[in-house]
């Protein structure tokens, strides 16, 4: 059984239908990536998982239970951390407060230890601990958003365009860190990304999304080798 499964999910915003009978699975411990052009429905797919659409048909399963009609906050508490497009930073709160918010529903006493740990992993955040999050650069804010998600000790991490607005070098660093976290923690991830080359490099599995439905899927290596995918998304 997969950790996350979408069975024939359709849905959208108001009268606009974005997703059509979308099927997708992510197994425990793997990194899956969704490729697709602008407007294909990548962000909407992640929002469907988190109960953030006006209407959803079909079923979303997380960790063997159906979460389709649950509220966003309930899905978050069940162990899904979502780093939205544009990072969703609490810009007027401090870096430290942003990280603590990641752990706001945790009842265990490992929060302080986790804080220290992610400060160590992201030293730039430690330097800016008491600074307003909105005053940091885009790359720093992306790291903060990822660290905040990790503070919740999620079972599944959803990332929406982590490279958006970042310089190429910073983007590469972000993906390196994500790959490293997946290897060391075994954290399952589902990443939506325009930069297909970088995303496929750390992914185990890939999906290609077109006009709201999955048109191709497979091993990351297979997809990288696929001529259609290469032409459309990898640019060589």
């Amino acid at each position: 059984m997969s950790l996350l499964e979408l069975r024939d999910v359709s849905g959208g915003y108001g009268p606009v239908q974005v997703l059509r009978d979308l099927r997708l699975e992510v197994a425990e411990g793997e990194v899956a990536v969704i490729l697709g052009a602008n407007g294909a429905g990548k962000t909407t797919t992640l929002r469907a998982i988190c109960g953030m659409l006006d209407r959803v048909e079909g079923q979303v399963f997380f960790d063997d239970s159906e979460v389709t009609s649950r509220s966003t906050q309930a899905i978050a508490r069940a162990g899904v951390a979502h780093v939205p497009q544009g990072r969703g930073t609490f810009t007027d709160l401090t870096v430290d407060e942003n990280l603590r918010l990641g752990a706001i529903n945790r009842r265990d006493n490992g929060v302080e230890a986790d804080l220290d740990r992610w400060y160590e992993a992201f030293p730039r955040l430690a330097e800016r601990r008491t600074q307003a999050a909105g005053s940091m650069s885009g790359g720093e804010q992306q790291m903060l958003a990822i660290a905040r998600a990790l503070m919740s000790r999620p079972r599944l991490l959803l990332l929406d365009e982590p490279s958006l607005g970042l310089a190429p070098l910073i983007t590469k660093e972000v993906f390196d860190r994500l790959g490293e976290i997946n290897r060391t923690e075994g954290l399952t991830m589902l990443i939506v990304e325009q930069n297909a080359t970088l995303a496929l490099a750390i992914a185990h599995r890939g999906y290609v999304l077109e006009t709201g439905t999955i048109v191709a899927s497979g091993d990351a290596a297979e997809l990288t080798a696929d001529e259609g995918v290469r032409k459309a998304y990898l640019g060589f």
């Binding site: 953030m52 966003t72 969703g88 810009t91 918010l101 529903n105 909105g134 005053s135 940091m136 650069s137």
Partner: protein, 294 residues
């Protein structure tokens, strides 16, 4: 000079009331992004509740505390039952109209429930003993100021030092991300409205102990001054609300004393002051201009 200090102290007394209501406005504005036009009348209703408790034989302080608790629950229920259903509406004006409706409805309801026919003004027992404490400063003025300090301290501890306060500030900062970290934003909005109503209960009850009695028009002018105070301090700043409230109170008292030409229309002075401040600092004295990098 004595007269001057008397008037400043007088202004501090009323300023405390404006500041409390302004704080309530700021709390709701920050959590809901809404100007709550019903804030004054909510406080009026709470004041009648305090009065009702004193009539049942409670001392004024226990009656006030009981009223604060009832008001907290009432404020939270107003958010849940009346505000929430229109909040997501396509037109953000809908919710403003609801608060205006509440303004009229709560006032009418208060008169209906609490004022007996033929009754003119009700007498609220004093919270602080009459007379002077030291150097001609009235005990009530010192007491009022102490109440404001306690309110600020409690709010500070709640917002800055507790998990629930962090969640409340998170909702004010970014509601969608708050849901994504698992915060029940609805509960936080109820909490915000509950806190605002509780602050209103204190402000209204203190206001009712001033002067020779109170009726259902008690909070109408107060609300206007409190809006002025919040605008002066910056609608997103609790500190601004407090400073704004005191400045407006003192400016008002001094105008009444010294500027005969404005007799009866003292209101123009605080508003003139605000106009000047907002021309120079459009976000108010303590309001933040948010600078963000993306």
């Amino acid at each position: 000079m004595d007269l001057f200090f008397d008037q400043v102290l007088n202004g501090v007394g009323t300023g405390v009331i404006y500041a409390s209501v302004a704080l309530a406005l700021v709390i709701i504005y920050r959590t809901t992004g809404l100007l709550n036009f019903a804030q004054g009348e909510m406080a009026l209703f709470s004041t009648f509740i305090t009065y009702w408790f004193t009539e049942q034989g409670l001392g004024i302080v226990p009656a006030l505390l009981a009223s604060v608790v009832v008001s907290f629950v009432g404020g939270a229920l107003i958010e849940r039952i009346l505000i929430r259903p229109v909040e997501g509406a396509a037109n953000p004006l809908n919710v403003v109209i609801v608060t205006l409706g509440l303004f009229l409805a709560i006032n009418a309801l208060a008169q209906l429930i609490f004022i007996k026919p033929g009754q003119e003004a009700l007498q609220m027992p004093p919270v602080f003993p009459k007379g002077d404490l030291v150097f001609g400063i009235r005990t009530a003025t010192v007491g009022f100021a102490a109440v404001l300090v306690v309110e600020c301290l409690l709010l500070y501890v709640l917002l800055q030092k507790t998990k629930i306060g962090l969640a409340l500030r998170a909702v004010a900062s970014n509601p969608e991300s708050s849901r994504l970290v698992g915060i029940n934003t609805g509960n936080m909005l109820m909490l915000g409205w509950g806190l605002a109503a509780a602050l209103g209960a204190v402000a209204g009850t203190l206001a009712a102990t001033r002067g020779s009695g109170f009726d259902s028009s008690l909070m109408q002018q107060v609300l206007v001054y409190a809006f002025a105070a919040a605008a002066l301090g910056g609608f997103d700043s609790p500190l601004g609300a407090v400073v704004g409230g005191l400045v407006v109170g003192i400016a008002d008292a001094l105008t009444i004393q010294y500027i005969d030409a404005l007799d009866g229309i003292e209101l123009v002075v605080p508003f003139g002051l605000i106009l000047v401040v907002l021309l120079v600092r459009p976000n108010g004295l303590f309001g933040r201009t948010i600078v963000e990098r993306v």
